[in-house]
Symmetry: C2
Amino acid sequence: MSNEAATTGEARLPLGLFVGIDRSSPVPLYHQVSERIEKAIRDDTLPAGSKLENEISLGHRLGLSRPTVRRAIQELVDKGLLVRRRGVGTQVVHGPVTRNVELTSLYEDLERSAQKPTTTLLSRRVEAATPELAETLGIEVGSPTLHISRLRSADGVPLAVLDNVLPEPFVELTEDELIQHGLYQLLRARGVTMRIAKQRIGARTASREEERLLDLSGGAAVLTMSRVAFDATGRAVEYGRHCYRPDLYTFEITLVER
Amino acid sequence: MSNEAATTGEARLPLGLFVGIDRSSPVPLYHQVSERIEKAIRDDTLPAGSKLENEISLGHRLGLSRPTVRRAIQELVDKGLLVRRRGVGTQVVHGPVTRNVELTSLYEDLERSAQKPTTTLLSRRVEAATPELAETLGIEVGSPTLHISRLRSADGVPLAVLDNVLPEPFVELTEDELIQHGLYQLLRARGVTMRIAKQRIGARTASREEERLLDLSGGAAVLTMSRVAFDATGRAVEYGRHCYRPDLYTFEITLVER
DNA sequence: TAGTGGTCTAGACCACGCT
DNA sequence: GCGTGGTCTAGACCACTAT
């Protein structure tokens, strides 16, 4: 008998698809390795249920230390693509491989899925922060904040109403900028890197105004998301209250138990 | 000038609140450390914006290696409680500290928030898997599956309609069990540990039946969640399609950019 | 008993942000 | 230039699973 497929998977060595790993690249070794394994999984080169080589042996063959290989594998475990079991090994997860919700904006989500996002600016005004808003954003009561309301469409179809508030450093964002680009693009261009976002997802019945904007008929449901986003220094940079047409937008999340 | 508060935070050494760290405990050192730091943050012993001691020095004082301390800190960065910046240091995040969505069931969420969950079993039947269902769960077409529909209430108020499908090993779950316990409790009691869940969150208008069950008036919105959960071996153990009263339930999520 | 992942150590060098 | 976190190494021992 050859060593063909066991019941669930086969202990097969991933081949030399690790060519081109570059020690002098700015991208970390563990990430280069993890990228290549992820590609193999999405290729079906590593089919669902198949077993990976063990960490030490793989590290040895790649000329990498065990912690480095381990970290590469951990990245994919955290993404929900691999499962590790002590005393057994590492396997490709069963079930369809999906992508996770990331710290991105709707604008970028749309661009990535090859839809053409457009923005209508419904309003733009500068207001003094109320006590609640100051609490949410961690700023002084009464300090200037930029309130914007936008309608976001994809391929010409209205998709979401986006209300956002931004603290002082960003009040000078112009109407043109807000129409031409996504909010996160504009912030990034100003040197802001988003690090943490706290979101709350819910639902409710659409208001008259939302029905009109989103081209919904009477009493329709909308999906809502409110979010506070923080930059690398831990300071709040954005507060948003969005509502989406539920037939055109959903949130996808992968949870992994550590 | 004393070394009192700088602009944003103070470089202060966390004290010996690390007493009781137990090297022989089955709980890893990095987790024991991370628990204590998390407690200090939630206590406000470490206020928002305050700076942590650097990794090497902290490790030295605790008698731990740098990788161990680093991993402890990383846990809290992943939870969104700390922010690290190269060349600067580690700080407690600004903004309210919240808890994250975890891989738990509604039943456990309710118990944790000290509400009393009750279950009404609406239906329970065993059916052969359709091709779509077989695809979703990664099982054979035509193999037996348990379909259950439940109404979940909290403190007597109807909260959600839960439709679930379970594969072969669980078809023998009885009506009594399903009424008395949460689904995840029952699975855990059968030796199943959930590892990965893929969720899709959306919204829609409630059906007549859902309005009646959830005590909603005409044309109300519901929050929907469908989920496939996998165990440690990567096999699907549950498929669920749930709908929630949006005035009583929302999803909270913390996203962290790595 | 053999093999796996889980944890931990004690170093090293580098990239980056601040002063 | 100095201090920080970011990466990487080469070992070690342990806990768990399968046979």
